[in-house]
Each structure stands twice: as structure tokens, then as C-alpha cells.
Amino acid sequence: MTNHIVDLKNTDCALIMGSNAAENHPISMRWLLKARDTRGAKIIHVDPRYTRTSARADLYTPLRSGTDIAFLGGMIKYIIDNELYHRDYVVNYTNASYLIKDEFDFHDGLFSGWDKENKKYDVSSWDYQADANGLPLTDPSLQNPRCVFQLMKKHYERYDIDTVCKITGTPKNKYLEVLKTFCATGAPDKTGTILYAMGITQHTVGAQNIRAFAIVQLLLGNMGRPGGGINALRGENNVQGATDMALLFHIIPGYVDSPMNTADNKDLISFIRKVTPGAAKLPFTNLAEFRELVKAGFPNSGWKIHTSKWVVSMLKAWYGKAATPGNDFAYHYLPKRDEKKNYSHIAMFEAMHRGEIEGLFVNGSNPVVGGPNSNKEQEALTKLKWMVSIDLWANETAEFWTHQAWDRPVKNPDVPRMTPAEIGTEVFFLPAAAVYEKEGTAAQTGRWVQYRWKGAEPVGDSKSDLWIYNELVKKIKQKYGASKRKEDEPIVNMTWDYDDEHGHDDIMKVALELCGYNVADGKPVEGFAKLADDGSTACGCWVYCGAMTFKDGKNIYKPQLRKKDDPSGLGIHPEWGWAWPMNRRIVYNRCSVQPDGVTPWPGDAKRQLVKWDPLALADPKNPTSLGSWVGVDVPDFIKTTGPDKAAFTSPFIMRPEGKGCLFAAKNSLKDGPFPEHYEPWESPTVNIMNKQNLNPAVKVWEPDKQGTRDKYPIIGTTYRVVEHWQTGALTRNLPWLAELMPDMMVELSEELAKEKGIKNGHNVVISTSRGDVKAVACVTKRFKPFNINGQYIHQIGLLWQFGFKGYATGDPANRLTPHIGDANAMCPEYKAWLCDIRRA
């Protein structure tokens, strides 16, 4: 979330799209309902199916799965055509005025630079026109035909309301009502928030769906302001923390690109050159020279100009004394990923299926239920030599080899069936402690890092994850001993000092390393601005720097703070837990004040978060440091950037140009600088917006498994219910929760049920080109057939949370879903595919 959960109470309008907030994020509704009661806020819900969220919304409208960009593209056009955008905001805080290279173009669904052979874009034309100094050219009048605003206007000209509704199947009057209601937040005294979840990301256009949100919110001036923002409701309590820690293949902790096996990654200085924006062509050959350039500042860099400090501090944290200025701070110890290889979930299971992977650790994950095309993923597990499952219960993945695991509702020659005797994978199960049985932090959806103390002792032999990994690595290091082999150095020299004086794992030692410490005295670094790239600081994850402070002779870990005070009344609660970065509760909050840095947006003084105070001291100890940013929230801005500097009106400090991107320049995305509507991989219709059916930049893994509309005419989608959590490994093992949602079910419209002779409560079979599942029919008025470009098209929805273990059992819906993902994030397209349904 750019904002946070409590901040939802400050909104004037909430657009919930691709999220069933009431069911999957119940607390969000507490604050949204408060906004409605206290501010008269409107709640809009856009979803293929009427859900418990729709029941509490002021306005519900359906759309067909996988058509969000059409829906939002129409919104962008509506905002521009009716001049509903927040002009001052757009001109000053976005790249609307930036001129784009003449070579940039868009034809027949393809952006300029399409490489047909390699099926990818050359992005060099997706760039700004620059002056002699490399600074972007702009036209603040927004009239130049090559400015972003005009190009965007032209791009979305095709997204008129009739065309949009033909694609999405949304009733026109409802669509108009949504446009009118949400776009009213473009008024300077109004803010609107967008809430989304997996309904937006789990598509072949997932990242572009979110880009479309970004354009809408920037046009309406809703970013960086209370009650605004783009708010990803994270599906697990600590998934935000997991991404912060880089549990992803393409980054290292703190969202820095992970190094690759290419020449431009060959040593630390090449790597720094590559990952620091604006550094590519600068004259430097070592860190000392680079430091001088950073000190002087260079254009098109933004806050990421400091990347070298984050990388070196991380290396210092990981390799301690072995990381020295003389050896590139042991940069060569870092594993380098193969530039040509993809290591995402789908790719990993494809490789496993090909027999390329020997062993697997599965922690708090259950791919036999949760993985796309889980028939295939289950088969892939049989090709491993060994697998370690770490979970509270022996879940479906831990028991993928049992007879029960290969039961299928119908005989299908295309679906693999095996017996335990045929499977050679050796499976180890390590019982894990539950969240209440261990200490630690969780970073919730609004980036608030909150400490949790242990509530109960772990059951039986179960252990915390930290214990498990601490013991494992200690054992590994013991095995390597004092090996002198070159290739063993990364393990031999890795720092691993998390034991307390009794030899037990000490979580505060992990916390200190993550938050950063001064190498000389071991005291915490008080913020990432104090990190250095000379080896004097160590920090495991720069965005967490500042969470630990030294006060009154001891370390204070801020996620443990529990003060309820809320001086601003905006729900910021600055001393409840801690939010990264630097306890900023609303990022980009420079946007909550007018460009002059002082005046609130007209009529919106109460929601101003920060301001420039020429009389405040930037450094309290230095009486000459006059002029600083101050506010009720921690300014998400360089404190000393005053009106004398060009960057004074550039609130998006992580971007090289400092502006919110209506146009995603250069290599921001793989599939285009503007979101464009493409159909899902399996679609019941053709794309009427352009000549490409599927997002061209998507990798098709299994072309032979693409279901066609003649055989599978119905759209299928998957989702969760409030009663179960993720794959249900936790909740289906709890009788009280199993009672609430006891069986695998499929929701379908009364119209489709009638066509197929299905009655409420019947057992039915749903099939795709990848498999079949059995479920109980829930015939409902809440699903309605769509009118898609004159065609009458049905959609059904399945719970994906069932498996063969626990008190509540049923077939995993993911036996149906395809192995295909988004062009950028590789997030699987769980949300839109083709199927058929019949009585069992």
C-alpha cells in the first residue's frame, strides 16, 4: 500500500477492483465503513461476481475477468475528455509535460521496438527527449503533440464507453456511474483510494493493470495524499515483509536488482554502474571516484543515487570481515543469475518437471493446492530426489506421494496418475511453530512493521523458522569447516552470528543486522541516509534502516512501540510500530501540499501531511541549517531540498525524473509504456481493441494446453473466502473454520445452471485442458452471464483453497489453471481461463 489500512478512513471514494476486501481483508472494511459514516465516502466495487464486498458497497458493477485495462482505459479517456484531472498536480508532479522521442509509436497492438524473432521489445524508443545535458525536455502547457499527456490522450482515444462495455460486459449505465463517482475525486479538495488484490495481478497483463491504476490516480491527483493512493491488499500477514527481504528471484533485499552473469555485472563497480540510475555513462572506475560524483549529484538519478551504499552495506552485513575495499566487498561471493533464465514459480516447476532440479525446500507454501496447473506441479515433485516440507501440518504438498493425492474425479488420459511405489522423492517433514508460538515481526499490508511476542509454547517438536534455519546453516558451516577451496568461500566467510550466550537463536541479533549497525561499535545506524559504501556500516536491508535506535544505553526496536496517540487525527499513529521507509506512513507525501511547498490544496488543509518550513532546522544541532521539510507524517522527501533546488517539485524521489509516471519510460516494464488491453491467454472472444489477442511480451510455456472456446466456452476464475486462508492448510485443519466452509464449491449463475441442468447443491465436474475437479454447485443470483460484443458468455468461480487433507476437503481448483504468467512479474493467470461444467 502507498497509504495504509487506517488511512482508508480519510477517503472520499474507494474503488475496490480485483479485490474482495470484505472477505479477504476484513479490517479494511472497518475503516472504509468509517469513511462512509463520517465523510459520506462512496464505496465502489468492480468484480465479475457480487460478493460480500459488493453487499457493503454503494455501487457494484460486474466486469468480465481479465478486462481491467479496458475498464480503466475508458476511465482515463473519460477523465481527459471531461477535463476532470487535477491540473496543477498533473503538470507539476507527473511526467505529463515530458516530451517523448519521435521514434515512439503504437500500431496494431504493438509498441515501437517490437522484436518479432525474440518476442520482446527494444525499449530504447520509450524514452524522453533530452537536452544537451541529458535533462528531459518538457512542455508545461501540455500542448506539444509529443508530450506524454497528448500521447496518452491519443492512446486512449479508442477506449470509448461503448467499446469498453463491449469488452468488459459491464452495463453501460453502471459503468457511467462508476466513472462519474470515482473521477469526481479529481477535485483538489477530494481524494479517492484504489484497493486491489490478486484479481488485478493474476493476469497476463497483471503489472499493466496496476500501471493503469497509477495513471488514473496521478491524473486525479490522488497519490501521496491521505485517503488516496494505490493500495495493494497483501494476501498474507507478512508477504510485504517477504518481498522487502527479497523472497523473489530478481532482487536483493531492499528492491535492488539482483546481479546477473553478464559483463555489466562482472564486478562491484560495473554492478553499481548498472543499478544506479543516471550512472551508465559517467566517468568513474572505482568507488572513490564514484563517491565524488554522488556528492556533486548527477541528473536522472533520484534517491537511488545512493544504491552503492545499500549494496556495500549489505555485503558488509553478509560477509563481515571478509568484505573489504580490496576485494569489492566480496561482491564476487553473490550468486549471479543466468540472464536468459527465468526463476519464477512457473519456470521453476517447469524446470523441475524437466528433471533439472534435485531438491526443494517448501516453507509455508503448498503448491499441490496453490500452484497453477497443479496436476503438472504435483508430477514435477515426483522428479525430485528430495523435498523438505516445513509447515504446521503435513499438508497436501508434504503428502503429494500418497494414494489419496492421486485420486481424480474422472478418468482423464491426459492427467498423470501415480502410486507411491512409482515415486522416488525422499520427503522430510519439519513441524513448524505457528505465528503465535514464536517471536518476530510481520510487515503488514500498509508497510507497518509490528513486533509480535510469543503467546504460547510451540506444540510438540515444532520449531520456529529462525530456529530451523539457524541450526541448518550452523550445520552447513560446520561441514565446510575451514575449507580453503575458493568456491567454498561464500559459505565459510558468511557471517552467521545469531546465537545468544546460551546458544539459542536470538531474533534481536537478526533485527540489528537487518536495520544496520556501525561496524566500529556495533551500534545501530540511525537511518539509511547514514549508510556508507566504504565498509564502515553494515545493513541487511536498507529500507529497514532506522527501525533500530540507540537510546538511554540500549537498543530500542521500533516495531515494538505500542503508543496509540494520533496527534494529527489522520490515523498515522507515529509511535505504533514502525513503517518503512523511515516511519513514513504515506509515501510520496510531498504531493499532499501544493508545489510551493507551503499552501495546502484548496479546501483540503486538514489532509496536508508535510510542508516546507524555511525557519525549521534540518539538523537540530546545527543552528545554521535553516529550512527543512516538516509535518505530521515523516516527509517522504529529502529534508533539505528547498525552493532553490529544481527537485523541490519532484515528489517521486525513487524515480530518476522525480515525477509520477503517466508514461513508464525505458525499461520500467517489458510490455509497454502505456497499458493496453489484451485478452487473457484463454479467452472466449477476440480482442476488438487491437490486433493482438494475447499480450505479445508474455512467455507461453505450454502452447498445446491452450483451451479453445469451442470445447471450453465458459470463463473460469478462482478466489478465496474469508473462512479459509490461502491453500487452507491452516484453516481446513481447524474444525470451527472447516464448519464455516466445509466443501469445495463452485459458484455459477442461475442461467447457466438451467442450461446445464444443475441444481443448487448438486455435485458437478469442471474441466479444462489441464484437468478436472469435482465441486458442490452454489447456484446464485450473484453471478450473471455477460454480454460480450453481442455474445452471451458465462463465467463461473471456484474456491482454490481445498485439498485432500484436513477436516474440510475437496479437489484443488488449481488442477484447472494454466501455466502462464504476467509479462513482467510472471504472476500466474489464475483469474481468467476457459472451462466447461457438467453434473457429476
Partner: protein, 266 residues
């Protein structure tokens, strides 16, 4: 003492059913897992091990389109409870804060209460041969805690407090709802059956929430409670007297002897 109760506002309920689980947790009631029948609702009605349920009611009309109404259903803790009146063993009592509490130790499992209740709330629990129902968490509230259901509600749809104060909140809320697109919004529990110690804010008429529009206690129950039960204490001796009289008199008649007017005592 003042009546303490829950105000349940359907316009804030997301049917997460945290209340249902919290109730089972506090009262340590076993799960009653029934197969999914095509509705999210777990059970058609409350049962001996399920004191509260959330009902899911799907409806559609041309004007408002599809609606999905949720309502938490449990004992209404009537001011004048039929269960209490019909119970032959005095198992039901009213606490001084208005909860109707059932004492299983006194219950003989006769189930009169289950027939008498206008909301069909007391349920027979076969495994113990006794009846059970919601206690409004009298054990918690006596210690100054909220009922388990209200404590767990994430959206504030359930509020616990002084009935008079909650009634004011409810009146305000209904006014607000009527002005914001719910012309039929109403309070339930204020006047029904002379007042319930459970208040509802409804966004529509009670029938749209499966609540009895005019709950009433059957006439025969009223007769029982008003005429028969008050004299219960001497009805038994009287009945015994009658049977004794009959016993003696038949023999007297058989023996052609003169009879006594008075019967024997128990």
C-alpha cells in the same frame, strides 16, 4: 441494573462470521460440520452446539438489483421470555442486566421451551439430553467483559452496552440510513414482544432478514404461563387429590360404602 445488550447493525456486517467462531471458542462448543448445500450459511438454524449463526439471504428485484442480506441470529433475550414461563423446572432466569440464562443443571430436557419460543432459539442437545442456547455471555459480562461475539467483530457491526444508549445510537443510525438510500430502514427489538434485550438496525423490513414481522407467543403458551403456571404449586396436590379421590371413590362405590370428601395428600 440497566439492561445491557448488543446492538447489531446489518449495514456494517460483512458476514465474516468471526462472531460465530468466537461464540464456539468461548463456550467451547464442538464444530457441527454439515455438507455444503449451496448456501454460505453453515446451518439452516441454530443448534444445540451452535448458539449463533449468520444467515445469508439472496434476493433480487428490478429496482435494487441483487441484494445479499446478512443477519446474525441468536437468542433475543426477550424482556418477557416464553422459555422462562414454560419451563417446569425453573431452569431459566433473567440476570439483572437482562440476559435470559439457562441452567443446564436444572434442565430435564422436556423441550417445552423449544416449542414456546417465538424465535425457535432453545435447541435440544441430544448428547446431554438438555436444552442449550446463547447466554449473552452472562459469565463474561458479569466480569465487565463484552460478549465474545461483540469483542471479535472487526467492523463494529456488533456493539455491546447499555440498552438505552444503544437504542439512541440505533435511532440515529436508522435516520441516517433512511436518508442514504434505505427508506425501509428500521429498528428491530425495541418494541417486539414488549421489547427484546437485543437490538437490530435493519436496512430493510424484518421479513427481508428472515425475522418474524410480528413475533408472538402462541395462545396456549399464554394460557399456560398466565393461568396454569402461577398455580402450579397447588395444582399438583390438587391433581393428586383428584386422582386419590377417584381411587377412593371408585372403591367406595364398588364396596357400596360412603366416601370421604377429602382426598389424601402426597
Amino acid at each position: 441494573m440497566a439492561n445491557m445488550t448488543n446492538l447489531y447493525d446489518v449495514s456494517k456486517c460483512t458476514a465474516c462470521r468471526g462472531c460465530q467462531v468466537a461464540c464456539k471458542d468461548w463456550n467451547q462448543l464442538p464444530a457441527v460440520i454439515e455438507p455444503f448445500k449451496g448456501n454460505y450459511q453453515t446451518h439452516e438454524d441454530t443448534n444445540g452446539d451452535t448458539y449463533t449463526i449468520v444467515k445469508f439471504l439472496e434476493m433480487e428485484d428490478a429496482y435494487s438489483g441483487v441484494q445479499w442480506n446478512f443477519i446474525k441470529y441468536q437468542c433475543m433475550h426477550c424482556f418477557d421470555p416464553a422459555c422462562l414461563k414454560v419451563c417446569p423446572r425453573g431452569a431459566y432466569t433473567k440476570t439483572d442486566t437482562g440476559a435470559t440464562v439457562h441452567d443446564p443443571d436444572r434442565c430435564i430436557g422436556c423441550q417445552y421451551c423449544t416449542y414456546a419460543c417465538p424465535f425457535q432459539i432453545p435447541k435440544y442437545r441430544k448428547r446431554e439430553d438438555k436444552v442449550s442456547k446463547c447466554t449473552l455471555c452472562a459469565d463474561r459480562t458479569a466480569e465487565g467483559l463484552q460478549p465474545a461475539c461483540a469483542r471479535t467483530c472487526p467492523t463494529g457491526a456488533l456493539k455491546f452496552g447499555d440498552r438505552e444508549e444503544l437504542l439512541q445510537i440505533a435511532e440515529e443510525r436508522v435516520k441516517y440510513l433512511r436518508a442514504s438510500g434505505f427508506p425501509n430502514a428500521t429498528i428491530y427489538g425495541k418494541l417486539e414482544l414488549g421489547g427484546l434485550n437485543k437490538l437490530y438496525v435493519l436496512t430493510d423490513t424484518p421479513d427481508k432478514f428472515d425475522l418474524p414481522v410480528n413475533p408472538h407467543i402462541p395462545k396456549n403458551i399464554t394460557a399456560w404461563q398466565n393461568i396454569i403456571q402461577p398455580y402450579f404449586g397447588w395444582l399438583i396436590p390438587l391433581a393428586l387429590a383428584g386422582s386419590a379421590f377417584s381411587f377412593v371413590s371408585t372403591r367406595v362405590l364398588a364396596n357400596k360404602h360412603g366416601g370421604h370428601e377429602e382426598g389424601g395428600h402426597e
